[in-house]
Amino acid sequence: MASSYDHEDVQSQSQVDPQGYDPNYVPDSVRTFVVHLYRHIREKNVYEIHQMYESSFQTLSDRLFKETPWPSVDAVAHHVDNDHVFCLLYREMWYRHLYARLSPTAKQRIDSWDNYCSLFQVVLHGVVNMQLPNQWLWDMVDEFVYQFQSFCQYRAKMKNKTEQEIALLRQYDQAWNVYGVLNFLQALVEKSMIIQILEQEKEGLEQFTATDGYDYNGGSNVLKVLGYFSMVGLLRVHCLLGDYHTGLKCLLPIDISQPGVYTSVIGSHITTIYHFGFANLMLRRYVEAIREFNKILLYIYKTKQFHQKSPQYEQILKKNEQMYALLAICLSLCPQEQLVEETVQSQLKEKYGEKMNRMQRYDDEAFALYDELFSYACPKFITPSAPVYEEPLVNYNQDAYRLQLKLFLYEVKQQQLLSGVRTFLKVYSTISLGKLATYMEVDEPTLRTILMTYKHKTHAVDSDGKIGSNADVDFYIDDDMIHVVESKPSKRYGDYFMRQVVKLEGLMNDMDRVKLD
């Protein structure tokens, strides 16, 4: 059942063709590009940097470097005063382009790691005086975690490795080492003091979110914003390892019920909510997951048209589809349709309506569907430990995914009998245990067990240890009599009145502005 999981790894891309690529050839447009970018960075002109980073780089890549890397950093260095930091930034973009268009070799993977080490060391030593656009800073963290994930997948496929590749892996065993990756992210969080900054901001003693993380006092935003995005990076890495509880803890300083710097970049917004939702799904906190997926899917629906030209568009669409799959899973395990907006509901019905009906039957076909959706939508889990170099060399890159899938399906199986209970509870207001047992074709003791399982599975434990009900239909038992309790969707009057107050005020202001002759 790994087919849908693995399809992204099919290497249809080629590695760099040594005949067709001259690393020292620098077209004029590239020379202009680096000279201007270097100047804008020195002048802290964030708007121009952003334009060049988002548009110019993409345009040049599409026009000149569709299937080859950009010129080597050595070839462009003398155009930019051999500036050490600029070269690190250029290299970072160089490797990101390589990963996106081509397939990196083992040596290139290792060299990219070295570049990140140097770049992060420079930032951590606090000697950087630049202001960079949030998009770029997010991409750095995002790419760092992505290359780590990619390396783990690559490393775990030992079967067809050449002697040279194995020798390289043995020699550079520190490259993309899980301790290194986690410690860099953690160091960025700590050195930037971002957690304290966010705390103090709540008390009005600091400005961070209000300025989108930018520093208007002549300083640099790089360390702070990298530290901020590293919290999302840590959430992502922990999800890849299967540690959902710690992942969510790393995200805690960010209040996702409000907009923040994480929403200033669409990629960051989506990645944050995707992993938050997935972690809550695995923690059985279905209502939390449903709420957040609903919000982001509505947001994407309304805003994706504005990102059509952006290089992130494809990724946005992919994550959108994956989150619909996860939402389908959550709602099948925890039917709470009223939590989902109309637009999202109709999209969901279109994509997964039929499958959701089949999933709620909990037969063999249902389990196959849970498997399919989970495999399509889940993160690319990794095995973080060093490879085993003894014969026979095997591919173990699927092991981590198989474990998470197995445990997830195990949980689904435990909830198998609940949908039957739900159906009956919806029809009766009271029913004796004896009668229900007959209808469900089980004996009374078994029914008692099933009813208690229903209660346990629909009452989730939140991060503070409090119990909350997920159940759309609930009940209690008095000796041998079941009393059904229908939970009414609560009307949010307070919210409604507030919105009307604001609306009316707006209307009155508009009318005031009308000049009557």
Binding site: V178, Y179, L182, N183, Q186, L241, G242, D243, Y244, H245, T246, K249, M282, L283, R284, P384, S385, D399, R402, L403, Q404, K406, L407, E411, Q414, R448, T449, I450, L451, M452, T453, K455, H456, K457, H459, V461, G465, I467, S469, D474, Y476, I477, D478, D479, D480, V485, S490, K491, R492, Y493, G494, D495, M498, V501, V502, E505
Partner: protein
């Protein structure tokens, strides 16, 4: 990245170690000791145990199955929290195939699906696994009572007895204690034996459910103060 070498007197508590440097292979022995401390002093820390399981994941050759078994038993005792599953997510499939882990997984399955009779039977057959951790029986009984309290306003004595694995005179004594200290009541059912009336809560008495859905956070109201003013 390094922390000072440990002297005979601990220079840092485990909580401090976790806060300072959770991704540090050197703290592995401290975390293992902490598991044993949790067992003997009947305390529990999910964060510390997950940290240790992560380190085992990073360096499988340093894993101690004995410690992992203790962590899992402790996690079972934390039910209804999903800690047991959280731990399993970090333990490789191969390790989960070992006998003692297969048994613990079966025990967890029985508890997750409220099959208390089967649970106590299986636990009795595997005393060597579960009796290593003091307080195990009481913790599971507390979980059983929790599930009963979600489900029943009034529960027959036989159902309670099976769930907490206490009968006869011991059960009488237990009920006396619960009546005196926890607000339980005893009733006689029509010819069917004792009924235990469990304390009312929002899960077995729907009228007690607080409708928190319509409360508005203060920050939202402050946004319309300029208008109201």
């Amino acid at each position: 990245m390094g922390i000072p070498k440990q002297q005979p007197q601990q220079q840092y508590t485990v909580e401090q170690l976790l806060a300072l440097n959770p991704y540090n292979p050197d703290i592995l022995p401290d975390l293992e000791n902490f598991v044993n401390e949790q067992v003997s002093s009947q305390t529990y820390s999910l964060d510390a145990n997950l940290c240790l399981l992560r380190l085992y994941q990073f360096e499988p050759e340093r894993m101690s199955t004995q410690i992992v078994a203790r962590i899992l038993v402790k996690a079972l005792m934390a039910m209804p929290a999903p800690d047991f599953s959280l731990c399993l997510f970090l333990i490789s499939e191969r390790v989960q195939m070992e006998e003692q882990f297969k048994t613990l997984i079966v025990l967890s399955h029985y508890l997750e699906t409220a099959r208390f009779r089967q649970f106590w039977d299986e636990a009795a057959k595997n005393r060597h696994i579960v009796e290593v951790v003091p307080g195990f029986e009481q913790a599971i009984q507390a979980y059983a009572i929790h599930v009963l309290s979600l489900t029943y306003q009034k529960v027959p004595r036989t159902v309670l007895a099976e769930a907490i694995n206490i009968e006869g005179l011991s059960l009488d004594k237990f009920l006396e204690h619960q009546v005196a200290n926890c607000g339980w009541l005893l009733e006689k059912s029509q010819g069917k034996g004792q009924l235990i009336v469990l304390p009312p809560n929002e899960f077995n008495h729907p009228e007690l459910k607080k409708n928190a859905a319509d409360s508005i956070p203060l920050e939202h109201v402050t946004r319309i103060f300029p208008i109201l003013g």
